[in-house]
């Protein structure tokens, strides 16, 4: 690398931040920020960011954008200072974007017909995602301890929740949709969580011993992983559908099972399919966790006079736990997502809104199912990440 290109390259300290910044800027300029429709079912007129925002809001957003650009450059701020600035400015940008959308909806609807709807546009989503990615990226670069990230995330969530609670978004179409289905929403959220829990518990109860078995009996490993892999390759909708026929047959021939909820449609096939999908990651990670324990450690443990049980509980499990929990993290996030599809066979859950919305061409309803699902997955992922960190032996590996 020549000296001049080196210097040019050094002008930008954080390429990721710069890329996100450019993406956000382009989206704000080219894509609609909001959409204004005369009623729920027609797609509305596109509103650009510059039109939607008040002068003050625009000025504020421009200032924040300038600060973010500054954070991405290598001068005058140091890399760490740049990241810290990002962690201050990016969430402010996010909050201002959210506030501005709600504010615009309120102003626009004040002079429109009661049936009129304001919904968020592509530029809004791009802004939200870009600012969130900026925050995540800054945290990764700073290598901040997990609890700092947790506290920060909590504060951000609280701020956004505050905006919701203050009624800032009540004018938005998606919130209208929410108010229409408020009770059903709570029900389906619980159903969603229950489906995930009912699938994960057996998946762990079966998968953990199977993983240990795969570790202890290398001869079984091939066929076991082969079978589980096969489940994984079946597309989820197909698997759900495939389970309908045998389960309804079962339920029809055994009334007792039917009473227990074994039916062709509903929760039973959904849970079974989720278990089948969850098994592979659980088994694979459990096996990998046990296989990762150094043979010398095991020889020492046995040579010291530990019984098989003691070796398992005092040495193998503690050392394998972080990898096993990483597996749990994968399947939890995966199950939260897959449960959306389970709504197709009548299992309920947040997916019900997604498919209902798709059927009615009501995008807001789709979002009402999708956004909370994503939020659930992110939260679960984060909590399990903390659990993995805690389970990591203090001595490292």
């Amino acid at each position: 690398m020549t000296a001049s290109s080196d210097r040019a390259g050094r002008l930008v300290a954080n390429r990721v931040l710069l890329t996100l910044w450019v993406a956000a800027l382009l989206a704000s300029a080219l894509l609609p920020f909001a959409a204004m429709a005369p009623n729920r079912l027609v797609s509305g007129e596109a509103i650009k960011l510059i039109v939607a925002l008040t002068t003050w809001q625009s000025a504020g957003l421009a200032l924040l954008a300038l600060l973010l650009a500054l954070a991405a450059l290598s001068r005058p701020l140091s890399a760490t200072q740049g990241l810290r600035l990002t962690l201050v400015v990016a969430p402010l940008t996010l909050l201002l974007t959210l506030y501005a959308l709600g504010d615009y909806a309120g102003r626009a609807l004040a002079e429109a017909s009661p049936a009129a709807r304001v919904s968020q546009g592509a530029a809004f989503w791009v802004l939200v995602f870009c600012t969130l990615l900026m925050i995540v990226d800054a945290f990764q670069r700073l290598r901040a301890p997990l609890w700092v990230g947790g506290a920060y995330g909590l504060a951000l969530v609280a701020a956004i929740a505050g905006l919701f609670a203050s009624g800032q978004f009540n004018a938005l179409s998606i919130l209208n949709e929410y108010f229409n289905i408020q009770d059903a929403f709570a029900d389906q959220l619980l159903t969603h969580l229950r489906l995930v829990g009912l699938a994960l518990a057996p998946a762990l109860a079966i998968g953990l011993p199977l993983g240990l078995l795969a570790h202890r009996r290398p001869a079984l490993r091939g066929s076991l992983f082969g079978t589980l892999n096969f489940f994984q390759t079946i597309p989820s909708i197909a698997l759900f559908a495939l389970l309908v026929a045998p389960l309804s047959a079962l339920g029809d021939s055994f009334p007792l099972l039917r009473e227990l909820g074994v039916k062709g449609i509903g929760a039973a096939p959904a849970i079974i399919a989720l278990i089948m999908y969850s098994l592979l990651p659980v088994v694979r990670n459990t096996h990998a966790g046990f296989a990762g324990v150094a043979p010398a450690t095991l020889e020492a443990a046995r040579g010291m006079g530990m019984t098989r049980r003691q070796v398992l509980w005092r040495v193998e499990i503690p050392l394998a736990l972080p990898v096993i929990l990483s597996g749990l993290r994968i399947v939890t996030v995966q199950a939260i997502g897959l449960t959306v599809v389970a709504a197709l066979i009548g299992a309920g859950g947040l997916g019900a809104f997604v498919f209902q919305g798709l059927g009615q061409y009501a995008i807001d309803l789709v979002l009402l199912g999708a956004v909370p699902t994503i939020a659930l997955a992110v939260v679960a992922d984060f909590l399990l990440q903390i659990l993995v960190a805690i389970s990591r032996p203090a001595g490292g590996r």
Partner: protein
């Protein structure tokens, strides 16, 4: 005391250990040595039943170990291996405490034992007690490994190339520590190595294995002087091995009472001492066999108890005598070392 009787291990019809019989007396330092793959580790691991034996018997004291539960047996035998195998999720103290905890010693006794062992191995307890294995140097980790093996005061210590993975300097230090610890604890030790220097330095007795068979089991000096066959002499036949051996032996180990009587037989020598017991002269004992020649003792051809035998031997050669007076700090004659002694006896 540990005794192997006709110990045999067969893998897929092949005897990797074949009919090994030997006995390591209480307090002895027994070393198994041989080329790679000759069955040293297999033998050791049969002793603590990590590997089931195919034929033969192992006695610990007068108990047949096959009568004991493997876990109980292993808690009575310390075990240290080349790869150490410290538990990465436990601190140094917790690692050392493994067997005492398995034996359910009371807390206070375990703590006291940890301190005692860390002291014994020159590990500053204040600094290292709560460190994790990955924070230790190779030598420190190895010390912790050996300390852990000794923790519950086992009857026997089994060690499989415990110093194989550390640098030569550290190995030397650890060997000296091992000698000192053996001196202090008088444990019965079965030690595996493929390093002849290490074997000669540490062993009371060396077992040389080849292709699963015991070729010779003897004191180090006897291996040198009287190798059982060509394999043994090839295996130990490095040029300066005898001198190396003597450089690790001390005069007091070879010292015998001085002969003060004149005319006690042909070819014998005797010492002339003054009123304080200081040697004045040697009668006889010269290389040339003029038995009566009188050689005045001077300040240089004497030996002290803490002198190495290598040094004593080189003085004998230099002054052309078959015997050296051993004197204490006051200059008093307390014994003698002889050329025959070097060749014949091995403490």
């Amino acid at each position: 005391m540990i005794e192997l009787q006709g110990l045999t291990k067969t893998y897929a019809g092949k005897n990797v250990v074949e009919d090994i019989s030997l006995r390591v007396e209480s307090g002895e330092f027994g070393v198994l040595i041989g080329p790679s793959g000759c069955g040293k580790s297999t033998t050791l691991r049969m002793i603590n039943q990590l590997i089931p034996l195919s034929r033969g018997r192992i006695l610990l004291g007068d108990e047949d170990v096959s009568r004991l539960k493997p876990e109980q047996l292993r808690r009575r035998m310390g075990y240290a291996i080349q790869s150490i195998g410290l538990f990465p999720h436990w601190t140094v103290a917790e690692n050392i405490a493994v067997v005492p905890n398995l034996l359910k010693w009371p807390r206070a006794r375990v703590d006291a034992r940890i301190d005692e062992l860390m002291n014994l191995f020159h590990l500053e307890a204040g600094e290292y007690r709560d460190k994790y294995p990955h924070q230790l140097s190779g030598g420190q980790a190895q010390r912790v490994g050996v300390a852990r093996a000794l923790a519950a005061d086992p009857e026997v210590l089994l060690m499989d190339e415990p110093f194989g993975a550390v640098d030569p300097l550290t190995r030397e230090v650890l060997q000296n520590e091992m000698l000192r610890v053996h001196e202090q604890t008088r444990k019965t030790i079965v030690f595996v190595t493929h390093d002849m220097d290490e074997a000669l330095k540490l062993a009371s007795k060396v077992a040389i294995l080849n292709q699963g068979r015991l070729v010779q089991y003897d004191r180090p000096i006897e291996l040198l002087v009287d190798p059982a066959d060509g394999f043994v002499s090839d295996f130990i036949g490095k040029a300066d091995l005898g001198l190396k051996l003597l450089s690790r032996r001390w005069v007091d180990q070879y010292c015998r009472p001085p002969c003060l009587e004149r005319d006690s037989g042909a070819g014998r020598h005797s010492w002339e001492v003054d009123a304080d017991g200081r040697p004045l002269a040697l009668h006889g004992g010269r290389l040339s066999d003029d038995g009566e020649a009188r050689t005045a003792v001077n300040g240089e051809w004497i030996a002290t108890p803490e002198m190495t035998m290598k040094e004593a031997l080189s003085r004998m050669v230099w002054f052309r005598v078959m015997v050296l007076p051993v004197i204490d700090q006051a200059g008093k004659l307390i014994g003698e070392v002889t050329m025959e002694g070097v060749m014949g006896r091995q403490p």
